[in-house]
Amino acid sequence: MAVPATLAFTLLAVLTCWDHYAAGTVPYTLEFVLVSGFGLTGYLPVSSLILAPLLSVYLGTECSENTMRNKLIAGHTRTGIYLSELLACMATALALDVLYMLLAGALCIPPVLKMSGTLLRVPFWQLLAWTGAALLARAAYASVLKLLVTVLHHRTAASAGALLLVIGTMFLCRTAFGQIQFLEYSLAAGVPVQNGPARLAFWRLLVDVLPTGQYLQVSRLDTPNLWRLPLFSLAVIVCTSGAGLLVFQRRNLK
C-alpha cells in the first residue's frame, strides 16, 4: 500500500506541475518539485503519513505475532534483531523518497524547462546538500518510529501512536515556523519583543532537532542552519537507537 500511495502522491505533484505550466502561473524550477516530496506546500509531510502506518504495522506485527521469540530461539541476539529492523526501516523510508524524487524529477523536466528555461536556479551542490540533509532526517524519523514501536510493543497502539506523532509534530513545526517568522520580522523592524532573541533561538533549535522540522525546512528551501541539520539527525539516530536498545534488552517477550 505504501508504494501505490507514494506513486499517487508523485502523480499529484507531477500533474500539479503540468497544470501550473498550462495555466502560465509564476514559473519555478526543478528543486521545488524535488523537495516537495519532503513536505507539500512546506507544511504537510505526506511521506511521513505514508511511512508511519507502513513501519508501525511492519514492526508492530512482530510484537503481536511473537515472531521475535522465534528469532531469539534461532540464535539471533536482541541487539542484532533491533539493528537489523532499524536498518530495514531506514532503507524502506529512503527508498520511497528516492522513488518520488526520481519519478517526479524525470516527469517534471519538460514543463519546468518550458516554464523557466532552466532546470535549477540553485547550484547543484546546494540541491545535493538539501537532499542529503532531508534523507538523513528521514533515517532519523525511521529511528524514532522504531523506538516508539519498541516502547509500545503493540501493533494497534504503535500504529495510532505513529500517526498521532506525525500529526502532532507537523502542527508543532507549523507553530514554530509561524513564531520564527513573527520574531524575525519583529526583531528586524526593531519592534520590542520580550525575550525575542532567546525565543527565536529556541524555535530555530526545535525545528532543527526534529526530523519533521528538518525536512519541512528543506521542502520550504529555507535552511539557515543547514550545517547542523545532519549533526542533529545523527544525534537523534544514536539517542533513539540507544534508548530503543535499552528498552528492548529489558523487554519481557511473552
Binding site: 502506518p53 508492530g60 494497534t156
Partner: protein, 279 residues
C-alpha cells in the same frame, strides 16, 4: 438492547484507552483554560469572547479537529477489540441480534464522544471569569454546540461503520486517522478556495505583478461553489472546523446533514455487519 448497551458502557469503563482519552481531553481543556487565564493575568486585551475557547471543543484554532483525533483511536480500539477477542460471537451466542449489537455499539460511541465534549466544556468554563463575556448570544453558542455534538455523533457513526467493514483494531485506527487528516486538509483547501477573489493581478514572464486585472482561475463559479459549500456542511470534520471558525452560512442544514450521515452510514454498516463472517 438495553442490556447490550449497559454491557458496552461497562466495558468502556474497563478500557484503558478510554481513560487515556479522558486524560488527554482534560489536559487539553486545562491548557486552553490556562492560556485564557495567562492572557488575563498578563494584562493583554481579550480580543475574543468566551465562545471561542468553548468551541475549541470541536476544533482548535479553526484548523485542527483535536477531539476527533482523540476519538478516532479510542473508538477504533474499543470497537476493534470485539472483533479480535471474539466477544461478538459470545454476544450472538446468548441470543443478541447483529442489529442490536451494532446499534448498541453506535450509541456507546456517541456516548463517549459526548462525554469528552462535556468534560472539555466543564473544565474550560472555569476560564469565564478570565475572559469575561461572550461576543455572541448564549443561545447561538448553545445552537453551535448542539450542532457540533450532532457532527460528532455522525463521526462516531462513520467510525462504527468502518470498524464493521474492516473488522480490525489496527486497520480501523489507521483508516480513521488518515481519513481525518485528509478531510481536515481538504476542508481547509476548499474553505480557502471559497474565499478567493474573483479577479487578481496578472504576472509578466519574469514573475512581476502587473496592474492589469484578470479573472482568477481558482475562483469557484456558482455551481462549484454550491457543491463545495454542501461538501463542507456534509462532512462531520468539516462541520466541526466551520463551527470553531464561527463560519456557518447554512446553519439549518448542518444538523439535518449530520442526521443523514448517521442514518446512511449506520444503514451501510449494519448491512455489511449482517453479512460479515465472524471468525
Amino acid at each position: 438492547m438495553r442490556n447490550v448497551f449497559s454491557a458496552n458502557l461497562y466495558r468502556l469503563r474497563k478500557t484503558r484507552a478510554f481513560y487515556i482519552a479522558l486524560t488527554v481531553m482534560a489536559g487539553y481543556a486545562v491548557f486552553i483554560s490556562g492560556l485564557c487565564w495567562y492572557k488575563h493575568w498578563s494584562g493583554e486585551a481579550m480580543l475574543f469572547g468566551m465562545e471561542e475557547p468553548l468551541l475549541f471543543a470541536f476544533c482548535t484554532g479553526g484548523t485542527v479537529p483535536f477531539t476527533a483525533f482523540i476519538l478516532a483511536p479510542l473508538l477504533s480500539v474499543y470497537l476493534g477489540t470485539e472483533f479480535s477477542c471474539g466477544t461478538l460471537r459470545s454476544k450472538l451466542s446468548v441470543g443478541r441480534t447483529r442489529a442490536e449489537i451494532y446499534i448498541a455499539n453506535l450509541l456507546t460511541c456517541i456516548f463517549a464522544a459526548v462525554l469528552l465534549v462535556v468534560l472539555y466544556l466543564a473544565v474550560v468554563l472555569t476560564a469565564l471569569p478570565a475572559v469575561g463575556e461572550f461576543h455572541i448570544s448564549v443561545r447561538q453558542v448553545l445552537l453551535l454546540a448542539g450542532t457540533g455534538l450532532l457532527a460528532f455523533a455522525a463521526y462516531a457513526s462513520v467510525v462504527n461503520m468502518l470498524s464493521a467493514l474492516l473488522g480490525s483494531k489496527t486497520n480501523t485506527a489507521l483508516v480513521t486517522l488518515l481519513l481525518l487528516v485528509l478531510t481536515m486538509f481538504m476542508t481547509v483547501y476548499i474553505a480557502d478556495r471559497l474565499e478567493m477573489p474573483e479577479f487578481v493581478n496578472a504576472y509578466d514572464d519574469a514573475g512581476q505583478i502587473l496592474e492589469e486585472v484578470v479573472p482568477n482561475r481558482y475562483y469557484l463559479q456558482p455551481k462549484a461553489r454550491a457543491v463545495c459549500e454542501f461538501v463542507l456542511d456534509l462532512l462531520p470534520t468539516a462541520q466541526c472546523i466551520r463551527i470553531s471558525r464561527l463560519d456557518v452560512p447554512y446553519f439549518s442544514r448542518m444538523p439535518l446533514l449530520s442526521v443523514l450521515v448517521t442514518v446512511c452510514t449506520s444503514g451501510i454498516g449494519l448491512g455489511c455487519f449482517q453479512k460479515k463472517n465472524l471468525k
